[in-house]
């Protein structure tokens, strides 16, 4: 059973990562810095629980807020660049944060053991869950409550006027400006919100793996972050969830029996999925299909 709870944890964390990119992508900005914000959540929350002895919930909120603030700061220079240049700039920024952790050394002695981030060696012994007797099931439930809350918040935003404004900026910046939409506020806000969500994901990740190091937060993770919402579709948050389940549940775990050939198929299946559903796994058609099912159910 532990394997499935473990898989649930991975899917939950990656959903948060994907949703963090989803918010930014909605405003038409492609970001490869999400892994960086994710790592801020991971390192800062782990320092708070391990070094300062905090409970995970305040540690998670504080580290996510910090990740959100840093993301907002990145959002400002990002205002002036678009498209490919933004992709390059955000890669550079993500690497900047990763290399910061590579160089960051800060240990103290706790109960006779030296703990804390140790540069290239990483940060070991993040043992909040085992020390407090949380089982893998408890952790999985904890993660999915948070994922559900974040999804609910984003789903509600999507349907609100604020969500309409976000998408308006993504569709046409000039038109958005002509109706008075404050591009700075919207873009920086989207970056900050995305950073916050990535920070939550990172905080949870650090605590269930118990050992983090800078290599966990490279460009590959950032690529996954944008691949989920792009593959799933930007129409609603469920697209990202479906894409994470498809990639992590089916492609990564489900095809494990194929050994190393799995990686080959992995790429091919993503290409195939994008060709069959060019507007994302959850597009207008699938939304209509599901809605149709529900309306028929209520009538009967």
């Amino acid at each position: 059973m532990d394997f499935f709870f473990g898989l649930l944890q991975i899917i939950g964390v990656h959903t948060l990562l994907g949703l963090s990119a989803y918010v930014v992508l909605q405003t038409g900005q492609v970001t490869l810095a999400q892994a960086g914000f994710f790592s801020i959540g991971a390192y800062v929350s782990a320092m708070l629980t391990v070094l300062a002895g905090w409970h995970i919930i305040p540690a998670l909120l504080v580290s996510a807020t910090l990740a959100g603030i840093v993301a907002g700061i990145v959002g400002f220079p990002a205002l002036r660049i678009k498209g490919l240049m933004l992709v390059v700039a955000t890669i550079a920024f993500g690497e900047f944060i990763r290399l910061f952790w590579f160089n960051f050394d800060y240990q103290i002695e706790k109960k006779g053991i030296v703990v804390g981030p140790q540069g290239g060696e990483g940060f070991k012994q993040i043992r909040f869950f085992p020390e407090n007797g949380w089982s893998t099931l408890d952790v999985a439930i904890f993660i999915w409550v948070i994922v559900a809350l974040v999804m609910l918040a984003l789903w509600w935003t999507d349907r609100s006027r604020a969500g309409t404004v976000l998408r308006a900026v993504g569709e046409d910046e000039l038109a958005a400006q002509s109706v008075g939409i404050n591009l700075t506020a919207v873009k920086v806000g989207a970056f900050a919100a995305g950073g916050f969500i990535a920070g939550i994901g990172g905080a949870i990740y650090a605590h269930y793996t118990t050992h983090i190091e800078h290599l966990n937060f490279g460009v590959m993770l950032a690529t996954f972050a944008i691949a989920y919402p792009i593959l799933g579709g930007l129409r609603n948050v469920f697209g990202t969830l479906v894409a994470v389940i498809f990639i992590q549940g089916f492609l990564v775990e489900g095809l494990r029996f194929m050994g190393d050939w799995r990686n080959l198929l992995f790429g091919a299946l993503i290409v195939l999925a994008m060709n069959i559903q060019p507007r994302g796994l959850i597009d207008e058609r699938s939304v209509k299909l599901v809605r149709g099912l529900f309306t028929r159910d209520t009538r009967n």
């Binding site: 309409t164 404050n182 591009l183």
Partner: protein, 258 residues
């Protein structure tokens, strides 16, 4: 209402506006005509705050709005219907209008809905297509939507950049009827056009913009339509082609350059 004084704007080294002076009177329809590349759109974008001028001042209702952000300009009461309509193609008609009410994001939803209902009264065709994606509307409907979206900001001055662009003649007539109606209901209009014939029919006052400078300011009738069209399309300077110019001589105010 809107006073533009010596505005210059440039893209890099290319000066698009070279000291434009212009005045839009409250309550009327003011029209700006000129050939391609004269700087008409640049002027609109500069007023809207999307481009920053190099020199000069823009004031609206006796307040300086030069260099203000686009948001600030809209908040002061100027809305722009951009060239090529620029509706949000993958959002439905209703959502396009909601985005237009950005400045009232903090206010009650019912208030915005009231405005949407009001706009739908004016454009019943948009109401019929309320749930349709804006990108699937016809050109004329998209233009109506762009106007409706701008109206959601409750502007005192509505600026329109080539609303007739790429539309069939019958649709152009409909758009101009809408412009006249809006004006009759109290919205001041500042219109950029290439369709000189239609523009001169509705305009109270018009300007000719050639090579980044205003070369004529007056009322329709002061220049023959023939000459206006020639200058609006081909950009011939005022020194040539003056057979009909005398009839408007007393009022004619060809502004000095620079």
């Amino acid at each position: 209402m809107l006073e533009i004084d010596g505005i210059a704007a440039a893209y890099g080294n290319i000066e698009a506006l070279r000291g434009v002076d212009l005045l839009v009177e409250e309550g009327g329809i003011t029209c700006l005509l000129g050939p391609n590349g004269a700087g008409k759109t640049t002027l609109m974008m500069t007023i809207a705050g999307i481009l920053k001028p190099r020199r000069g001042t823009i004031s609206f209702l006796d307040r300086n709005i030069t260099g203000m952000t686009p948001s600030g300009v809209v908040r002061r009461g100027i809305a722009l219907v951009p060239e090529n309509r620029l509706v949000f193609p993958d959002m439905n008609v209703h959502e396009n209008l909601v985005a237009g009410a950005y400045l009232r994001l903090g206010k009650r939803k019912s208030q915005v809905q009231q405005d949407i209902d009001h706009v739908f009264e004016r454009f019943p065709r948009l109401q019929e297509r309320s749930k349709q994606m804006a990108g699937t509307l016809s050109g004329g409907e998209q233009q109506m939507l762009a106007v409706a979206r701008a109206l959601m900001a409750r502007p005192k001055l509505l600026m329109m950049d080539e609303p007739s662009l790429g539309l069939a003649p019958l649709v152009v007539e409909e758009i101009f009827r809408i412009i006249s109606d809006l004006n009759a209901d109290g919205t001041t209009i500042f219109l950029v056009e290439q369709n000189a014939h239609m523009a001169l029919q509705v305009a109270d006052h018009f300007f000719l913009l050639e090579q980044g400078q205003v070369t004529f300011s007056g009322k329709p009738g002061q220049l023959s339509e023939h000459e206006v069209i020639q200058r609006a399309y081909l950009g011939k300077g005022p020194q040539r082609n003056q057979p009909a110019a005398d009839q408007g001589r007393p009022d004619r105010t060809t502004l000095p350059s620079g």
